[in-house]
Symmetry: C2
Subunit: 562 residues, 2 copies
């Protein structure tokens, strides 16, 4: 069946021109752009006065961070013009290993949004972590057979690259040998170290936080991914990249974006709107979001309105506001008058479903598990910095006389990270400042990157209830005075849910607000901070199931400093 | 061994900037660009005041048209900055089939210039032809295993594409499946036909002769190859492509360029100089000749001065005049102070050498072979148009009373095309106007695309001598009054020689001039015209071993029209 979109103006991403042209589609492809008439088609759509541009591509996203399945994410993103994403299933891989990656692939298969994958390069992110799986080069290698796999995901282990780590070089070599890309992740890397990192074969970076950093990376041949997520927002700093010769080596990505933000602000369309609001050319931004993303990943016949290209198309009422009316994916109209059409979710192998739905392997916890042995009076306490993922080390004199050292008056709360993958019984215990809970506990299974169970509380009883609740349901929970006052279940690997974007955003918001009933000050987002307290990659002091880690020195460190 | 080029200015093809930066090379790669000091290197080169840019890539060349082996071509081109070419061995494939292609691959293997191949898509160019081989999709398919093969060569058979020819689509499908490119050749194709051609998967074109034609092709997603060869020179017409958004979808190619031109004017450097002379940006032109050519063919880590890129580098005394001092290929200095260094020529399998050196399979010719049966008085005569490859049909009254119809007074000469591949005995005989020979004959084994023996003369005796000489030696010959007065042997497939560029240019010039001793007017280049008289693809009337072909109607036609 041939479908003609006639009367519109086409955004030509090759030339940057706006062209009056009709677009003829057959099956999955654009078969003609130009002076086609209704006689050339079986079905016609009058789009007079409207614009046609290629569908948007998010070049780097962790689906798990949206907490949604690929199907639900598609429902949220496609009305915003996203027809393809490049997903790095790094989070679920840390929990469920290869089965986690396979689950993501199967649950993306055949949905209206094209989901490409990069293979997680750093599982675990660090040797200090206790993840659900360790993925070596030989483990992930077979996945390159999958046609949706376009490369190796963000190589966070840049020290490993610089020091010549063998497994790191095997992983990179496997990707390059197969003609695949190697995505980078190297904040602030510069000069000779950057050269060495790029020399290894890393062709992109999404961690640029200043224009100078980005321009150096572009000069050295990398694609720069302009990231605008929920936590990390680099667009404003990177606006100079929209000018001149830099723009054609940039693409747009979200990395991590929460469903509430996706619903409220949008997805890639939101980044384009923001760029336009800052006075940048909408066509430059659209090129970044389409043909250039395709070029960055070597996706052929994707990202343009031209013969032979995949019919991933947007019909827009207005270009500068990116007001999207209809969306076509592989030639099918999937969004009509801003409404997503229903589609069948993919069937997933039963054993994969079982694995990801049974990802908590730890015994029922008791109060005794949370008891800290009193071995000294001066303890290293993790200090949260509001709005940042960094922490500081603060040495505090602990009063062991009551409540096992917890002192809400001084905002010294107990922190526990409970290994949950292999039932090792490892529980890291210590203290944290800056969260402000007065009466209760919060817990989560979203704790980067191993996603063990993390709990913060003002008393052991509430902490036990919170931790055991997460052990059963995954997700986030708020407990006070022995009662669950809000929770959001994330049954899939403790990271995702089958709920819709609306539902999970609502649940998330309830949980987020509930913490303030525990006495937390309004300017603190405890779940956000808590999710990174267990990641011994970001400075300075972090907690793992085996205890504290001094990130700067990359060594385990005692709770006690006397 | 690490080598540092210090003090120079680098042409950054990603940003279009000129950067003061030192370049560090190790083995085949650039390992650093920036503030490296002599301490970082084992060997240093002071290039203060000079420029560094990536080596040039000719995106489409028929090596056979230079008459040189790949080694000799490298010696000619590398001092002009060419470090890589994309060769289409179409001519030798028409003579020697798969062995011809393999010969070209083996004779390119390991020479200092990188030779990539596209696989001939149209052997023969037309069903009317009598080539040495017919190559189907299944014949060429195994060659994709060769890492130097980057795609399918110019798909001249655009009628086949438009009409859905199965073998054509198999060839295209094979390339695309393997992630390879499909080069185009579709002069004047436009609108819906162009859409259909591109839809098949053809991603480039080197036949654009006007800017409008090129811009349409760019808009529809094709790479446009700006061709400046010996016969076809499109640069002047295509100068608008150097401006604005078009330039980044263009590359530079020579297609066919004779050794004399290569020596006098240069190669890709010459095209860049011409563009600059016309006021275009040298950096825009360099980008076309380097990174964009690499992108067009999906060559990774080639075409830029950046970490991880292949160390194919030029050191230039001056940018605008493209004054090249040194050339590095895969990290080796191969041109020093404008002088090519000696290198070992590749060893080629003996049976391949034998095949290409024994490509004439036709019996010794006699005067009787050249006799035209007198079947009518009004004959169709091929009329040459000076400076063009087109011919016209002219009906002439033939006076059979003397010299078998030849009439030098009216410039009616005899023309013969002798099948030479399979000893079929087929000889196409007829008449030709516009060459102007008064006394003698010329013959050649360069007669597109099947490269049978073609002879034009004023008497059968000289024609026999000329034809038999070609049968033994290949190449071009000029005969008069029973004597060979000039010849240039092309023993390799009748197309190439092991001589150097200087030697073959000299021999070629001698032969070219000798024709004027036969009475040919000074404004006619008979060998140039003769080489295309046998190609029944270009209008209007052409000669094959089985007789005349009306190209416009695509049908064989009788010599006699009464």
């Amino acid at each position: 069946m041939k479908r003609l979109l006639y009367g519109g103006t086409v955004v030509n991403v090759f030339t940057g021109e706006l062209e009056r042209a009709n677009v003829l589609i057959e099956n999955e492809k654009i078969i003609g752009v130009g002076a086609y008439s209704p006689d050339d088609a079986d079905v016609t759509e009058d789009i007079t006065g409207k614009f046609v541009c290629p569908g948007f591509i998010d070049g780097h996203i962790h689906i798990e961070s949206t907490m949604l399945t690929p199907s639900e994410l598609a429902k949220l993103c496609m009305p915003h013009g996203t027809t393809a994403i490049v997903a790095d299933p790094h989070e679920i891989a840390n929990v469920c290993g290869m089965d986690g990656i396979r689950y993501m692939m199967e649950s993306s298969d055949g949905i209206p949004m094209s989901v490409y994958f990069t293979l997680p390069s750093c599982v675990p992110a660090t040797a200090f972590d206790e993840p659900g799986a360790v993925l070596k080069a030989e483990d992930i290698r077979p996945l390159y057979e999958n046609k949706q796999v376009v490369g190796l995901a963000e190589m966070m282990n840049y020290p490993g690259v610089l020091l010549g780590d063998r497994d790191v070089y095997r992983k990179i070599g496997d990707a390059i040998e197969r003609g695949k890309v190697v995505d980078g992740h190297a904040p602030f890397l510069s000069g000779k170290d950057l050269d060495k990192y790029i020399l290894a074969g890393v062709t992109s970076d999404h961690e640029c936080s200043t224009a100078d950093e980005a321009i150096e990376k572009i000069r050295k041949g990398q694609w720069v991914m302009i990231r605008q997520g929920t936590a990390a927002r680099n667009l404003t700093e990177l606006l100079p990249l929209f000018d001149g010769a830099y723009s054609h080596r940039c693409i747009l990505v979200t990395d991590d974006r929460h469903p509430a933000d996706l619903m409220r602000d949008g997805h890639i369309d939101n980044i384009i709107r923001l760029a336009v609001k800052h006075g940048k050319s909408v066509i430059t931004a659209i090129k970044m979001a389409t043909i250039q993303a395709a070029q960055c990943f070597g996706l052929r016949f994707v990202g343009a309105v031209a013969p032979g290209y995949r019919a991933d198309l947007l019909v827009l009422n207005d270009l500068n506001t990116v007001d999207i009316e209809d969306v076509y994916s592989r030639g099918e109209k999937v969004v009509q008058r801003k409404q997503m059409k229903a589609f069948d979710c993919p069937e997933i192998a039963e054993e994969l479903c079982k694995t990801v739905h049974n990802s908590f392997h730890t015994k029922e916890l008791t109060v005794a598990d949370f008891h800290i042995a009193e071995k000294g009076n001066n303890c290293r306490v993790i200090e949260i910095i509001p709005g940042q993922l960094l922490t500081r080390e603060q040495v505090c004199r602990i009063d062991w006389s009551k409540n096992n050292g917890i002192d809400t008056a001084r905002d010294i709360l107990k922190l526990a990270v409970i290994e949950r993958h292999k039932n090792t019984g490892h529980i890291g215990l210590g203290f944290i400042k800056g969260i402000g809970i007065k009466n209760g506990a919060i817990a989560s299974s979203v704790s980067h990157d191993s996603h063990n169970i993390i709990v913060i509380g003002s008393n052991d009883e509430d902490m036990v209830i919170a931790a055991n609740h997460i052990r059963k349901n995954g997700g986030n929970v708020v407990v006070s005075a022995g009662k669950i006052i809000a929770d959001m279940a994330l049954p899939i690997a403790g990271l995702m849910t089958e709920l819709s974007g609306e539902e999970i955003a609502l649940a998330n918001e309830k949980v987020r607000r509930a913490v303030y009933e525990l006495g937390v000050p309004g300017d603190i987002e405890p779940f956000m901070n808590m999710a990174f307290v267990s990641l011994p990659v970001i400075p300075s002091l972090k907690m793992t199931p085996q205890g504290l880690v001094n990130v700067d020195k990359q060594e385990r460190i005692s709770l006690y400093c006397d």
